[in-house]
Amino acid sequence: MNTQPTTLFDKIWNAHVVKHAEGHPDALFIDRHFIHEVTSPQAFDGLRKRGISVFNTSRTTATADHNVPTKDQHLPIREALSRHQVDTLRRNCAEFGVELYDLGHPFQGIVHIIGPELGLSLPGMTIVCGDSHTSTHGAFGNVAFGIGTSEVEQVLATQCILQYKPKRMRINIDGTLANGVTAKDIILYIISKISASGATGYFVEYAGETIRNLSMEARMTICNMSIEMGARGGLIAPDDTTFDYIQGREFAPKGEAFDEAVAKWRSLKTDDGAMFDTELHYKAEDIQPMITYGTNPGMGIGIGQHVPLLTEIPDTERVSYTKSLAYMGLEPGMELRNKAVDYVFIGSCTNARIEDLRTVAQFVQGKQKAPGVEVWIVPGSVQVARQAQAEGLTDVFASAGFELREPGCSACLGMNEDKIPAGKYCISTSNRNFEGRQGPGARTFLASPIMAAAAAVSGRVMDVRELL
């Protein structure tokens, strides 16, 4: 019996290894597989070519999210290629017997929003999806990571994936967040500290008092962006906050089964004395509302700070840095406070859950969007949209002049019609500010929902702390 102190990540990983051989990647069993229209068609083709079926259809759930319109979802998709891709998902799911939450289904939504809200993503599981933000599900204390299409095919065919075990990192946040500082600011702050590649090769556990005090939705925002510092995934040990969130969800264990599950889930934590390859500590009090200025998520600053001067950038990185600022139309040393914005996007698997919409609604209640600014709110799922309606948030958004769309990934990646025009500035609650991410030539400022709401009503980037 191995009594060595073990990390939570290792406990979950080790419990899922079907075959381990020295020098060989582990065959890791996958409990839950989510698929969507963009990264699955070639995987299903692979199954057909090999003449094999899906290993266990009860472990796979599909939805259409990346490439769907966010208007008139009850009508056939107008854009031919998008329609073909969604139709292909429908055909594949029907042929192979996979459950699909299609457009019009009450469970449809962004894959990383519906998994948790349906109680499909549970503590202790291994979860994969052909999407890098699969790390979101790690908020429930599971090992969840994004994969490529060849790996989607592996999991469909065998319910396993071949992987080398990543290294372990723990990031501790302690202390109390200032008013106006949110989970989004925590993760943008961490990424700005360690860079967009600072956790490459690692699986991250987030710990500490500040994390413990966050809601499940806030924890999901943090785990969601683990990939933006290169991490394979991120997770948070489950606790009563987790169990309370799960209880009563559609596919969560019920009654006695739930109690038994919780008893088991309580053992899911890192042992005292367990070793991490890297351990980092940050103070909540040091975190300001964050905003990015560049073209990767590591290029972020506190709203009270200035865009770095060239002299503050290492020699070897100055070329890339200058290219990035040129794309953004910004100058070294400037402040982003009061910078005018053209678009506000509130959505994505990072920040389109009901708490995000509540935060925005509470801020904009009785206010109007600034003239000349377009504001899109895209709920993360049909359930989120219905809840927003039931709580009256929809009316608040309508009165403020915000455009409420139907669920999907939307302007986070600009695959559908929801694109930011070239040269325009968009403050966005999404996760990536890459060149062209929100549309060719689009310029993205990543920020929290409340920072986006503040920009929506003022037409400029604001320090939200001054408005609360």
Partner: protein, 196 residues
């Protein structure tokens, strides 16, 4: 399922000395609507290669005819960050590259590349800089990537690179991961039942 194999490649290279190249640059999301693996090469680095009016951007290296036909792409550190889209590796392969050289690769891209039979060769930062300079000075420079020996060489310079033994065997023999996992079917079935 047998695919292509990789042993030794001797080719010229394209220099792309930009750091943190993300998969949205390699293949923008709006080109991910296809349902097959073919044809993504046309849109490789689309927004760096072409204007919004689809005119080639002359100073982008892939539009420089002196580098035409190269099968090796040499890029700045942290190549392939961001989205897990395997389409990025497919686009690189479909365009004609068989090797990407960088001083650091993002995890998911590395896996996707290997599964696409594109070899990611991670070299030291000094070697990368020397290679970039050499290729920029001489587009006809021949580079040798020897997978069995795990070396990359040009002129008088050579460096070894790491690759796990399993993936090396796969690339050299044209195996993929599903071939291996299917051989574990009985063990996986048992595991599945025990963890229902």
């Amino acid at each position: 399922m047998s695919k292509e194999t990789f042993h030794v490649l001797t080719s010229t290279a394209v220099p792309l000395p930009i750091e943190n190249i993300d998969t949205d640059q390699i293949i923008p999301a709006r080109f991910l609507k296809a349902t097959t693996r073919e044809g993504f090469g046309d849109n490789l680095f689309r927004d760096w290669r072409f204007t919004v009016d689809n005119e080639p951007i002359q100073d982008f290296v892939l539009n420089n005819s002196r580098y035409a036909g190269a099968e090796i792409l040499v890029a700045g550190k942290n190549f392939g960050m961001g989205s897990s889209r395997e389409h990025a590796a497919w686009a690189i392969h479909d365009y004609g590259f068989r090797v990407v050289v960088s001083s650091f690769f993002a995890d998911i891209f590395r896996n996707n590349a290997l599964n696409t039979f594109v070899l990611p060769v991670q070299v030291s930062q000094p070697f990368l800089e020397a290679l970039l300079t050499a290729v920029e000075q001489d587009p006809t420079l021949q580079i040798v990537v020897d997978l069995p020996a795990q070396t990359i060489s040009f002129g008088e310079q050579s460096e070894t690179f790491a690759i796990n033994t399993y993936k090396k065997t796969c690339l050299m023999n044209g195996y993929d991961d599903i071939d291996y996992l299917l051989s574990l079917n009985a063990e996986i079935r048992e595991f599945d039942k025990a963890h229902a």
